[in-house]
Structures are given as C-alpha cells and as structure tokens.
Symmetry: C2
Subunit: 246 residues, 2 copies
C-alpha cells in the first residue's frame, strides 16, 4: 500500500472518522464545520477520495445528498494519522511539559509530517501507551483501536461509581474547567443525582460534588470494567481498612 495521500487528504479522512464516532452520521456540512472550510470544498475532496483511481479501492463511500462512510482502506489512513497525533500529544505533554491545550494544536500541525520511524521511536519511548493524556485511545500500528470497555459517563446510574478514562479535548476551556473539578482520567467519580428535567447530573469526586450538564457528561468516558455501586465501593473500602488493621 503506497503512502501517497497529501496532508490535506489525510486530514479529511481523520475528520470523517471523528465525526462518525461523535454523531454516527457524516454529512458534508458537518465536515465543513469541523474543518472550518466551505462545503463546496469538502464536496470536491470527498468526490476525489470516493473514486477508485489506482484500482486499489477508494478511501470513502459517498452517496450524493446522503452520507459519507470510510472504507477499510480510508479508516486505516485515518487511524494512522490519529495515532501520530495522539502519540505526539502525549509525547509533547509528558516530555516537554506543554499544556494540554497547546499540545493539541501543535500535534495536529505536526502529525502529517512525522515519519513512521519517528512515530515508532516516540511510541517506544512512551512505553507503547494505549491512551493519550486525556484518555483518547491511541490506535495500534495496524490501525485498530479497542473501545469495548468505554462507556459515556451519562450512562451511569445514580449511586454508581466508576473510573474516568477519557475527557473531551476539543474545547480547551472545557478541558481546563474539568481539570479544576478534578475530573481527569484516572479519577473516581460517583453519580449522586440526576435531575428529571434539564439533564443535569450531580457527581462526586472525593470531597466535592458538582453539577454537570448532560452534554458534557456524554463527552466523558468511564471504564465499563470499573462500574460498581457506591455501596459496593464503600464495602470494598471497609474491607481494605480491616485488612489494614489486622
């Protein structure tokens, strides 16, 4: 498989993937909005990515006026770019102590230009991590990402506790806000209440409780493996305590 796609083409494929993951349906409009370019330009590029020039298969499927879907080939390219980007993010954040929001822009800029070898060295240096610093999964070199254990915080029932594995990284201000609440990957969170109207969750993190808009909660992922009722959690804690005393 020849790596002959331009930086721009790769960027489009990556965006298709992200919009797909986020909304489930990829429209020209949505791509245009996210990339901050005009729908006409997106239309043209998608047409190019949808045609099978070199008889190796297209990168996307596109039914005009309907939606866009990645082919396996296109998905692989998108995953590769995403891997570059997230490894870079983590590398810049850990090795050079850059702020999370700055890291995002820098990594996005650089991602299309780093070689496979550099990517491998970064991955090796970081210990082949599975997630970046805000919990976004890093695809494997084969372009595969395992998300089976992830579920949105919004799906947690009242009284349940779980470990946060991912926070949304698109909006720097939101990222900062969540960090001030202590809502970062690795934190344990308990859902204390849920309003019947207005879609607000009250969550506890350690000592403090905070109200959280449903839309925000849908962007936060927790580990399905870690789910348990707060009661169970309490009992577990006591067991540990007893063990400590004996």
């Amino acid at each position: 498989m020849q790596e002959c796609l331009s930086a721009s083409e790769q960027e489009y494929l990556k965006t298709v993937l992200l919009v797909q993951q986020k909304t489930g349906h990829v429209t020209i409009q949505a791509l245009a909005a996210r990339m901050e370019i005009k729908p006409a330009s997106v239309s043209a590029m998608i047409r190019r990515l949808a045609q099978d020039e070199d008889a190796q298969g297209a990168y996307v499927m596109h039914t005009p006026y309907q939606g866009v879907t990645l082919t396996r080939r296109g998905e692989k390219v998108a995953m590769e770019l995403l891997r570059h980007q997230r490894l870079l993010e983590l590398f810049l954040a850990t090795t050079l102590d850059m702020s999370w929001e700055q890291v995002h822009d820098e990594a996005e800029h650089l991602a299309p230009f780093i070689s496979e070898d550099l990517e491998e060295r970064i991955a090796a240096r970081l210990g082949h991590p599975a997630r970046d610093q805000h919990g976004d999964p890093i695809p494997s070199r084969e372009g595969i990402v395992d998300l089976t254990d992830d579920m949105p915080l919004s799906a947690l029932e009242v009284g349940m506790q779980a470990k946060v594995v991912r926070v949304p990284d698109e909006d720097p201000a939101l990222l900062r806000y969540l960090a001030t609440l202590g809502l970062i990957p690795g934190a344990w969170i308990t859902v204390e209440a849920r309003t019947p109207y207005g879609d607000i969750l009250t969550v506890r993190m350690g000592e403090a409780t905070h109200p959280l808009a449903g839309e925000v909660a849908r962007g936060v992922s927790i580990s399905a493996m870690s789910r348990r009722s707060a009661q169970a959690s309490l009992e577990e804690q006591e067991r540990k305590h007893e063990k400590f005393l004996t």
Copy 2:
C-alpha cells in the same frame, strides 16, 4: 514583524544562507541544484522574495544575471529556520536516539512547522546548546551565530593539534565514514603531513593515522582557540603526567 512566510519561502531563504556560507556567491543555479528544483522556479521565487510588497523591506537583493544576497530581514528568517532545524536534530538525536543521518531528513521536514514555543521548550530541555550533534552552530533566538572561533581543518599547519568542533552533515555516507575514523566533534586531531601534490592531509587521531582529502578537510571545522603545536601538546601531557605522579 509578521511571520507570514510559507514553508517553501523560508526554505529558499535558508538555502540562500547555506550556499552563501559555503561558496560565498549565491547563483540561481546553485540554489536550484541544492533544492533539486528547476532554475526557472527558483528565478520566480527569488523575484517574489526580492520585492518589497508590504513596505517592510524585501528578504533578498537580486541583480538579474548577477547574484542573490540576503537582506538583514531575510537573514533573520533563515536563521530562525536553521535554529528550528538544528535544535530538532539535536533533540531527536539525543532524546530519541535516532541516527544522525535520519535525524537530518526528519528535522528538515519538521522545522518549518514547529511553533516558537515548542522550539523554546526544546532549547530549554537541551540546555540552550550552541551547537548540534555534528557541531553545526545553532543560531540564537535573535538570529545571531558566533563563528569567530571556527576555522577549517585544512588551515592547520603540519605538527599542529586542535579540537574538532564540526563535521559536514550534508552527505550521510561521508558522515558515517568520518565517524568510523573517530573524526567527530570533541575529538583531538593532529596534522602529521601534507602532500605537495594531490591535496591530501595525513591526520592522527589517538593511535591511528588516516589520509584525508583536502576537500573533506575543508568541510571539517576546528576550534581556533584550541590550536597548538603537537610539541606543546606533548609537553602539556607530560606536565599532567608529572602532576599525577607527585
């Protein structure tokens, strides 16, 4: 001063600087050869860089059919890019253990895309180094580079000893060869002989002696501060030895 130059334009300015340093006279042809593009394309780009669009001054001076010279403004841009590139080279070589030759290509690719802030963090992490791993000087953030202490190995007289500060990095094979001889920055080298014809130096590095073509010797820099006769060096060594014995 607005940073509005494209990656390509910066690359041109950098190449003008390097060709100027190497040959003293910058022709369209030389630029075309080094950048591996056609003279016609260079001609067009130089014309653009020579005109003073935004009333802030041009980047180069160009007298048609004569030569190209950087203005102070152009030089600053070139130095900035060179700083990016060499900091990146050193960073990749030290932090990620990439081979010298691979580092060169990677850094050249990436240099135009890293932000000033990332550059600063890399510089800080490396301890604001003055030279990269093969001794090329890293310009300061203000675009200044001090080379007063550098002179070519070829200028050394027979019997003189000096410390190597820079080896040429353009040809990976040459770089590898010099490394196998132990001819790397920091090494001490003595000129043992010079052929009257054929322009060959015989140099000693530790135990071994090697013949070195004049053209190669001209590409290697030594520190003018470290110059001394081999005799003086020998005496110095004995003094140290005596000191050790007492």
